[in-house]
Symmetry: D3
Subunit: 216 residues, 6 copies
């Protein structure tokens, strides 16, 4: 289980870290501000390489970089397409793989809308609106289908088929952030009684659920 | 229980509805664009009254409009400060009341940051970041204290004192939206097996929790 | 030739029309503002359907809608992914098909950055910066590769292989616009002597080129 | 009088300085970019601390920090709520105290709208629009009332009661700026004849007024 | 005097009205959204003409439209360059004429920065910052010189030469707004005692000044 | 010819370089962030001088700095008005001179709208829309006339008179960028066969045109 948690963390850091990104971001003020991985300057977004040192590969990510083992916990992997040239360009991309039966559990991006294209397999994709209240919008998607999630709304993927599924997700910020609802509730330091009240249940049930969210 | 659910829905609609709102919103293009409650035109945001018909009360909300019964379910009420003149001004305000022992359960605003001032009582206030991963930032706040939650991050209130607590929340969009995590998971139409997989538990546990999120 | 021109125009209108769009756009002020195709109200962007009437299909585009005959002129097709729910969400998507030897000629989007994923085949993809001056950034892309073009810069696709190529393009505005450089110069009403001066050549050469850009 | 001027300057610097701020600001590109008080890098906004070093207190301001002596000149104090975590979050807050009879003289914020809640006492609050031309919108506010001022418009507070009044002001930029009209006209280096022409009066009247705006 | 006041109001309405505009505005979501003078729809900004009905003159303003009699009160005229095609384009322009000895009194634009080019004559141009506190930045400008005023800061023009002066002002919003400080203080309905306190003077002095700001 | 190319490059660098700029840019977060020419920090936009070191000349450009020899190639010069105080203010200005018969060839700004005022002479000014498709909007402008080009659209100037013409161009970004269509196609490293396909012509014609775009 610890290994699974580790894998998941790796995926989350890949998607949620400060190095990558997408839309509703501040507009660019030059042709490109390619992220400078060596800079120690910390600003809103990332500081830039010398434009004279920018090369074609700064705008490129090869297909070979986009596969990973899926997590034991949920059976999915989510890898950010690493393109330093996307800094200031209001976009981030990710490849998501789901084993048969796997889910990408309910989550949201604090700073982005998301649209996904199915590359392989089929998947049940849904989001929940805040107004109308908790209304589910969902579709079973097949290869080539596209589905959009408005900015900040909770959404999920469920591969309820028998073949692996792969999606290509486009996010409208260079650093959309990723919050998995179950992890936000159970993996951190929220008090047990707060969780019991939140779920309208008892601490015993909370503890049982929580046990699986912590490395043994 | 049905009454409690109703009350909660009232509060949520008050905060999450299309009529009110606040920051990172598009800039205003005139002194004011006071929301026209009678208009049938639907655009991004709200259409405006004739500026010649705008009056001082369009920018005013009286204290008497800001109290409400708390919900049975969680013991809190959250009422939007209704100011039609805030349309296009990138702000919304809400008054939150918490009975002793009550919580405003973990939630987030898809389109806003939030800062809250404690008007009465004391409250445990926290938020969880997405990077660093699921890290809790929290404080026990007393009267006059202020605490800020970055855009889109999950946060909660817990009145773990013996007196009622009241807060004044400022949100950085004219329509921040509100997603309660437990409601998003359990009150809508998400499949049971998806929820069981999400919580790393079984359908029986999911059904038990879910029962309390549906009106009898 | 007239038929080819017509096909091309169809593709351009699909990508450049007022109904669809993506990033650096004004932020949304509600969960969704699904484009209302029946509205006669004209605003920046598109007016919205009643949120109560919004359905899952407003966020969906099926794979079957994304194929088209390629133009005779250049051998490519470019079809916008039609998703009315993307209004106010700062994104637009397009599928691009290129026959062997075909090009998507040099063009730019006045209001968007673009990132493309190769779905099938291989393609030579490049863009030219304005600073450094007229510098070419380019790659030969294969299936699964991703390449990014900063906001507003001129770019092109060239299928110099022997198999058809297909790309999925993500643009950072709900309505990025499309300007083909050759069409902008030769297909409209620019004076011949202006074009001759622009190309540092004579009117005869201009007329010869121009003849092919006008329906016979 | 010099002491009073000094106090006022302290209050202004607290509100108008480069360290604090709020809405219509550029969107954040990470969960938080907590202002780094030790950085010597100067950019639009403030540079950030290492996210690993961020603590709960970076989002907190205690009530004890929000009281100050009022200025002799106008009888008010205005203290920014110091929260380094608000950098990039499009918000700033201030506490305003007014002695009986005191005013917060006509002023505006070059980069923000403002909404204020009355915490204690009562106050006459007004703003003047630019279109319609020089129209006054105003209310007498009591404890718990809220009043909003659109972005950039001139506004003022007047405690015409017999008890001290306190307000909590929310501004829609992390650094709204503060321009007091009388100080902008009389406290700086504007030529006397320009001021006389501006006020449709003579230099003698200008000199008499001006004398009070300069430390003896 | 009434006639002078009328003329001034005409000029102010021309610059400050809801029909015209400039920068930091929401981005455009189509090539153009030319303001539709006949529309009764009121939104943030202005609604648009049918793009098929747009003509070259929608982007044009002739030199003959840019002259006006100067006001008796201050000796200046300020006429907006009327270009309906600037709706959604984040810009507005104005021509300013100053008779010898005339001033464009201290004012600010709630929603724009301004840069001005001297077309004829010479002029003393200055602005006052909010931080550093009330610091004057100024230059005597001659024909062809350019001077810039940051967003929202108070600025003024003074033709202290012997020839008429003309400037061309560029503002960074399609509707920057205009607040003349003296008019905002004296021409509206602000209470006399508030003004006396504001100017650190007595009501008698206030009444004397005020008399000139009201039509007899 | 080499000298002409050099002159042109000088003009382009002046307009398109990373040091200067204008609108739809991120909003300012302080009164001013005057560009610091000595800083080695690279961010979106430019880093700032210490506000205490800012002087009036940081907002000023003298008329004497705005003349230059026109290029041999096209007969125009385009010089950016150098004002370091425009950093973060969403504006850039340029002076354009055209000899009789000269053109400023078809070009666009990837990050800005543009409005131009004719200072001397007359000029044929036009732009081409992307929707409606390749439609020309144009006017012959005389001294004092103003014409506007929407964000990102291709436009050109043609002095078809017998006297020199001068324009003052206002752009809505601090760094709009400049792409000359002919240079983007012919001056860089685009493959000959791509160009031949693009122009619907043969390589021989392409080579003939291209020869003039390269220094001998």
């Amino acid at each position: 289980m610890a290994a699974a948690a580790l894998l998941l963390v790796a995926a989350l850091v890949a998607l949620g870290s400060g190095h990558g990104g997408e839309a509703f971001d501040p507009n660019p003020l030059q042709d490109f501000c390619v992220a400078d991985a060596t800079s120690k300057v910390r600003v809103n977004g990332l500081s830039c390489k010398d434009p004279a040192a920018v090369v074609s590969d700064d705008f490129f990510a090869g297909a070979d970089k986009l596969r990973d083992e899926v997590s034991e916990r949920y059976g999915f992997s989510a890898l950010t397409v690493q393109i330093p040239g996307l800094n200031t360009q209001g976009q981030r991309y990710a490849r998501v793989d789901l084993a048969p039966g796997a889910i990408f559990p309910p989550h949201y991006h604090p700073r982005a809308a998301e649209t996904a294209l199915v590359l392989e397999g089929s998947v049940y994709f849904g989001f929940v609106s805040s107004y109308p209240d908790n209304k589910l919008f969902s579709k079973v998607l097949h290869k080539g289908d596209v589905f959009a999630v408005p900015q900040g709304l909770m959404h999920f993927l469920y591969n309820n088929g028998t073949a692996p599924a792969t999606l290509y997700a486009s996010l409208s910020s260079q650093n959309p952030g990723l919050v998995l609802l179950a992890d936000a509730l159970f993996a951190g330091a929220l008090p047990d009684d707060l969780l019991a009240k939140t779920l309208l249940t008892d601490k015993h049930t909370v503890d049982n659920i929580r046990a699986n969210f912590r490395p043994s």
